[in-house]
Symmetry: C2
Subunit: 109 residues, 2 copies
Amino acid sequence: MKSPETFHSIDLDTIDGMTVLHALSDPVRLEIVRQLAGCSGSSDLKCGQIELPVTKSTASHHLKTLYEAGMLAAREQGTSKYVRLRRDELDERFPGLLDSVLRATAIAG
Amino acid sequence: MKSPETFHSIDLDTIDGMTVLHALSDPVRLEIVRQLAGCSGSSDLKCGQIELPVTKSTASHHLKTLYEAGMLAAREQGTSKYVRLRRDELDERFPGLLDSVLRATAIAG
DNA sequence: ATTATTGTTCGATGGTTGTCAAACAATGGG
DNA sequence: CCCATTGTTTGACAACCATCGAACAATAAT
């Protein structure tokens, strides 16, 4: 059994606002973010537990996009992978952005 | 000389958050929004006065996209067309969204 | 009338990207 | 060992879309 690893993510300073915005403009990725934002209890989710209307390869692609946009932190454990939304870090760099986007798209969107 | 018309725009209630988000995720359109947000004095601009790194046909296309996303109000006068950012209306429907997006993309983006 | 200005529309094109299936890699369990 | 689980990668494909040039429409100016 492989030992659990800590979360890793890209450097905060390299996060680009346009990239984040573009990442959020896809409905599947927005749904990922929404589910991660909703699990305030455990704060992270196993990739496979995020329910999406696409195949796992597509889901993997979107998770990669979000990770490379700097929005997710990830941790591997065994064959599984856990991801977490970088709420505080995102809010520090882009104040109010995540909340307003989630609120804006919550309305019939 | 044709008489000046009042501003027109699409219904506030039909504005979709995802559509707005997608509209903002293009650099040219974001630049349009930024220039319109910056002209607080006159509050509106003639389309041709918005300086963009694209041809006028492309600019027209982007302005149409922003208009149909509900973000712009427009007014025709002669052969000219004036556009205005619907700041207050957008902020009423999507509180904080526009400001946070403009702030997020202002940083090196 | 003729010409200039302003913006839209059309057709074409190239790039981006969301999507899937299939193959692959890595780990865990029996 | 063998097989199941989990996620990634690759290749292919289709859809979307930003872009341009050229043609067009509408108004203004001379």
